[in-house]
């Protein structure tokens, strides 16, 4: 999943990394094919060429050590608002077929005492609302790939074509990718619905369908994802020497 996420970052892009796997993926990208990309963290740290110290979180000293700017959260939100973030990575508890993500909790929100909390919306909502391209990281499980998310925390394509435009969201920005541990999903240009685009070695189309909570659309030709290259693996080992992210 890490290498797929890393490959989504193009050289010369302004990238926003959320908590968790995206931090590792964006560092990998900067140290391999995207040395001229600029990495921004939620709290404001701005870095190029990968972090001197791999951060464990978005407000870690690793996001500031030898950074080019420390900024503030305000700067990050402003960059999103102005449409300057090329690619953003987010995760959450649930995703639906239109790329809407729930990152606030699971339960009946009209009865707050029933809700099982997650950390919260954080930057995920502005990322999916305002990032030019957003990748959603989500483990492939039926309880996560759901027919309808319990709470639309981060709006994807909402309910289909023209939906974003009708509510006032920028129509030319939004989620472009869902990355699971089994495969990659892209969004149909017309219907805005997710379809299975490629699968990891070892996974089958049937596996993915069985672990999706809606009738999953599949590309006519499902591609195989290239396994990590030797260079990518070695670079990952270099970046995360103590294996902090491999738990």
């Amino acid at each position: 999943m890490v290498t797929v996420a890393a490959r989504e970052v193009k050289n010369g892009e302004l990238v926003l990394a959320g908590i968790g796997l995206p931090i590792l993926a964006t560092n990998l990208a900067q140290k391999t094919h995207a040395p001229n990309s600029l990495l921004m963290f939620e709290a404001g740290g701005l870095l190029k060429g990968g972090c001197e110290v791999l951060p464990l979180a978005v407000d870690d000293f690793g996001t500031y050590v030898l950074s080019e700017a420390t900024q503030s959260m305000c700067s990050v939100m402003g960059a999103l608002g102005r449409g300057e973030i090329d690619v953003a990575f987010l995760s959450g508890a649930q995703v639906d077929r239109f790329g809407n993500v729930n990152s606030i909790g699971v339960g009946d929100f009209s009865q707050p005492h029933t809700v099982k909390l997650l950390p919260g919306p954080g930057g995920a909502n502005p990322m999916s609302s305002l990032g030019k391209r957003t990748s959603i990281i989500m483990p492939q499980e039926k309880r996560k790939f759901v027919e309808k998310v319990a709470h639309i925390t981060s709006p994807g394509w909402l309910w289909g074509p023209d939906a974003r435009e009708s509510v006032g969201l920028p129509p030319d920005r939004g989620p472009t990718l869902i990355i699971s541990n089994m495969g990659i999903f892209r969004f149909d240009q017309t219907t805005k619905e997710a379809y299975l685009d490629s699968i990891f070695p070892g996974a089958t189309v049937e596996d993915v369908k069985a672990n999706t909570g809606w009738r999953l659309k599949v590309a006519p030709q499902v591609k195989r994802i290239d396994p990590p290259t030797e260079k990518e693996l070695n670079t990952l080992r270099e970046i995360d020497k103590t294996g902090l992210y491999s738990k």
Binding site: D60, S72, M73, C74, G81, I104, P112, A124, S129, T153
Partner: protein
């Protein structure tokens, strides 16, 4: 002159945490708690719990510890939280807050980072609300009455709006402050602390170091809480433990995991609070206990060991205008 609202112009603000919380945090207050994954002034939260303040509303953007807002909820001090991200990372959520929610003992109002920042900025600027471009089309607006749909008065474009909160007190951790209450920070400004501090009626500074005003005056760019906002300065080394303070000590991941285990287990919580919060009058006693229990090395290993200093000097100097006395360029 109002003792509870800025401007505060005096130079005798250094006091104990007990005095600061006694005078400047009232039951019923809305309190902005500073920091995110570092720089949370946990000692201020501990003292609020010790003084049994009640009915507080806590305001934050991101907040990562079980010893800050989660503690205020768990001890019954806080009944309402406005947040965009609230968890203790080892627990993957805010444990005491989760329990309080299930028992309907706390009300939660969720924002995104964007709208939470904008809300603080609105309060900072003295306006009643801010227009925002996040939150549109999401369920966040459905469950938070402080987020509304609106349109641009100039163009008619669909927008959202967030209400500016009324913040009574801000608890802000800084590397250094002087006795007049100038708070200085480096390596980030506490992601949203500049806005939270400005938005509040009054600021309690929890400072690793108290320095002379001369030090402040030789580096005024670093002042992000100007003296007139501060009602109190507390000299509090390790005041942000276990969340860390840049330039002094890193996050104590081991203690946060240890604390999260106790906070997540209702049968262990009170004993944990008795041992780490209620047993002490100030942070120096907490630190002594930490060293006694876990060893001197356990504390020392958190201190900064790889130093990074500026490579180039900055000069805040000047030349007097007298050098131009009686000089004139002749006009041809």
């Amino acid at each position: 002159m109002n003792d509870l609202k800025a401007p505060f112009i005096r130079d005798d603000k250094v006091m104990t945490i007990r005095e600061a919380v006694k005078r400047y945090v009232n039951s019923g207050d809305t309190v902005y708690v500073g920091g995110f994954q570092t720089g949370i002034p946990t000692e201020a939260c501990f003292e609020i719990a010790r003084q049994k303040k009640k009915d507080l509303t806590c305001w934050t953007t991101g907040h990562d510890t079980c010893l800050g807002i989660d503690l205020l909820v768990g001890t019954g001090c806080c009944k309402e939280v406005h947040y965009s991200w609230l968890a203790s990372w080892p627990a993957r959520r805010a444990p005491a807050t989760q329990r309080a929610l299930a028992e309907s003992k706390v009300k939660l109002y969720a924002y995104s980072n964007y709208s939470a920042l904008a809300a603080l900025m609105g309060a900072f600027m003295g306006v009643p609300y801010m227009p925002i471009v996040s939150e549109i089309g999401s369920d966040l607006m459905k469950y938070n009455p402080n987020l509304l749909s609106t349109t641009c008065p100039f163009t008619g474009k669909k927008l959202a709006a967030v209400k500016s909160p009324k913040i009574d007190t801000a608890l802000i951790a800084v590397q250094r402050a002087d006795s007049s209450g100038n708070g200085q920070k480096w390596m980030g400004r506490g992601p949203s602390d500049e806005w939270g501090a400005g938005a509040a009626d009054r600021v309690i500074l929890v400072a690793e170091e108290v320095v002379s005003t001369d030090v402040i005056r030789h580096d005024p760019d670093r002042t992000f809480v100007p003296s007139f906002k501060s009602c109190a300065v507390v000299h509090c080394p390790w005041g942000c433990h276990p969340t860390g303070m840049h330039g002094h000590y890193i996050r104590d991941m081991v203690f946060e995991r240890y604390a999260a285990k106790h906070v997540s287990d209702v049968s262990k919580y009170q004993k944990f609070l008795d041992e780490w919060v209620y047993a002490f009058e100030d942070r120096s006693q907490y630190v002594k206990h930490y060293e006694k229990k876990f060893g001197h090395e356990a504390l020392e290993r958190q201190r900064i060991s790889n130093h990074i200093y500026p490579l180039a000097q900055v000069d805040y100097g000047y030349t007097r205008y007298e050098v131009y006395k009686d000089l004139e360029y002749a006009v041809e």
